[in-house]
């Protein structure tokens, strides 16, 4: 089974996101989006059951490749990435187009995504890739059970539902659905020997174009300068008084 997982390098979420002309500023060193760890974990579990290869695909400035290394450290076999200045500011459809072309080069049976990245939050790329590849998309997976078949539990508006994973499809996995494994020292060393290959944009067919024009970003004044009380044992009374004033009690 060829399993392809999409991973994104993002600015360290510990730091505040900054923008430059409408685009997220990306430092040389970016990290693996935690959301993608869930997808990689599912890919590795599928590989343990069905054998095959786990390929990570990625688009964006490669920089120090730290995030791509982190994906390999978890246990993926190799990485393919596209990094081209002309892709700067790509909308979700352009991103999905490139990723689906990359997925084609891996001859993927199963293509796995997190549901949405932690920096951009558009949350549409997995489904767009599925449509480009003309595959079914099993979205919002919150649990996986691998026995004779692979049973996927989908999150829905009112609860959940289950489906059996088809032989070829695209999956999107929610955070918390599985427990991503932590690499040990040996995994970290082994990752250094794994291939990270750059794919030239010119070798791929882009089937989308830019249709979103950035106008402006405006900072809002959010601070309310509300009342702030240090609790010395009696602050509960202030809360109760306030709730009475608000006619909640």
């Amino acid at each position: 089974m060829n399993i392809t997982v999409c991973a994104k390098q993002i600015p360290d979420p510990a730091n505040e996101i900054t923008y430059d002309n409408g685009l997220i500023s990306r430092p040389e060193e970016q990290v693996l989006d935690d959301t993608d760890r869930y997808g990689i974990e599912i890919a590795l579990q599928l590989k343990e059951k069905y054998e095959g290869e786990v390929t990570v695909i990625s688009m964006g400035p490669a920089g120090t490749q730290k995030g791509l290394q982190q994906a390999l450290q978890m246990g993926a076999d190799k990485t393919l990435y596209v990094d081209d200045d002309s892709l700067k500011g790509s909308n979700s459809l352009m991103t999905a187009s490139i990723l689906s072309e990359l997925a084609k080069t891996t001859d993927a049976d199963i293509v796995i995504f997190g549901t949405e990245s932690t920096d951009g939050y558009t949350g549409t790329v997995p489904q767009q890739v599925a449509r480009f590849l003309k595959l079914d998309c099993i979205s919002y997976i919150k649990a996986i059970e691998i026995s004779e078949n692979v049973t996927l539990t989908r999150q829905t508006l009112e609860g959940s539902e289950k489906v059996i994973m088809p032989e070829k499809c695209v999956l999107s996995v929610t955070a918390g659905g599985v427990e991503p494994r932590y690499p040990n020292f040996k995994d970290i060393m082994a990752a250094k020997q794994k291939p990270i290959e750059k794919v030239e944009l010119s070798s791929l067919n882009m089937n989308a174009s830019q249709n979103l024009e950035f106008l402006n970003i405006e900072k809002l004044e959010n601070s309310k300068n509300g009342e702030k009380i240090i609790d010395e044992g009696e602050a509960y009374q202030v809360v109760i008084e306030k709730l009475k004033e608000l006619k909640v009690i």
Binding site: Y121, T124, Q127, Q128, L157, G159, D231
Partner: protein, 305 residues
């Protein structure tokens, strides 16, 4: 601008997210029709004020590709140039599929939009509502995914008059459909919401929040951290990847206030925050901030109400 509003069914009627978008479409005097996708047998969706089409999908088979094919056909045949949809699981799937068919990238997380010189201009809230981001859409068909609670829902009488279209099943069968039991006040429409975060330290301590919620007849929410930790079901998550709430009173218990959480609650009318860390970002949003240990403050509130 010819517009299609992609609707959704909840509890056998048009969802509040759909009614919010209809209200906005009216305020912009858009020429629109509503196409609602659902699996209920006879939902109440129709109205004398707009045209409603119901695409009935099966509850036993995953057929969003077939539904999207149908929607694409309607959009192309009727020269629709604006598609508005609530940002829910189903609509995110469908709008993403449509974006490939129409070669038009959608805009997600929209909190407001306007028509300027025949183009759609969208407003997104970024960094947890700290800034707003404006985009102009230049493709011939604009696709918008709109965050819930961005507009007030329209108050209209709904009826059962609409056209129904059925779509073919796919080969992927759905089974073990589970509906989370709804008991007590619901997050989306409760006047009071009490949310818990990591500062509650362990799951057992959530009983303190439950006691307070019972006394105030409040709904209970939580941060992504505690939902991921399995303390609460996903349906109770407030924030970017969870629900957006706008109650009269929001009480944040042991929540630091990451931007991802803020985006789901910052428009609450009155915010009370209880947190040990005086520097926690939640205090920026709070109308009343208590710097103290949630685990000692809440029991005292509970005893003295």
């Amino acid at each position: 601008m010819k517009t299609l509003i992609l609707g959704e069914v909840i509890d056998n009627k048009l969802s509040s997210g759909t009614l919010e978008i209809i209200n906005k479409a009216n305020s912009l005097s858009l020429e629109y029709k509503v196409v609602t996708v659902g699996s209920s047998d006879a939902p109440v969706l129709g109205s004398s004020t707009f045209h409603q089409t119901y695409i009935k999908r099966s509850a036993e088979s995953l057929q969003f590709n077939n539904v999207a094919d149908k929607l694409s056909q309607i959009i192309q045949e009727e020269n629709i140039s604006l598609v508005l949809a609530p940002s829910t699981y189903q609509c995110r799937d469908l709008v993403s599929f449509l974006s490939v068919d129409l070669l038009s990238s959608p805009v997600s997380n929209v909190i407001n939009f306007d028509i300027q010189d025949d183009s759609v201009v969208t407003t997104n809230s970024i960094n947890g509502g700290e800034s707003i981001y404006k985009t102009k859409i230049t493709s011939s068909c604009s696709l918008l995914l709109i965050r819930p609670k961005s507009f007030d829902p329209i108050d209209i009488e709904l009826n059962s008059e609409y056209e129904t279209i059925e779509v073919e099943n796919s080969s992927i069968e759905i089974f073990d459909v589970f509906k989370e039991e709804k008991s007590g006040p619901q997050l989306e429409d409760s006047k009071i919401v009490i949310s818990a975060g990591r500062g509650m330290v362990e799951k057992e301590n959530l009983s303190l929040v439950e006691d307070l919620a019972n006394k105030l007849n409040a709904a209970i929410g939580g941060t992504r951290a505690i939902v991921d930790a399995g303390w609460m079901p996903y349906s109770q998550q407030v924030g970017q990847t969870g629900k957006t709430v706008k109650p009269d009173v929001y009480i944040a218990c042991g929540i630091s206030g990451a931007t991802q959480h803020q985006v789901g609650m910052k428009d609450s009318k009155f915010i009370i925050a209880i947190n040990k860390d005086e520097e926690a970002p939640i205090f920026q949003l709070a109308d009343l901030g208590i710097v103290g240990d949630t685990l000692s403050v809440i029991p005292k509130i509970n005893e003295n109400i």
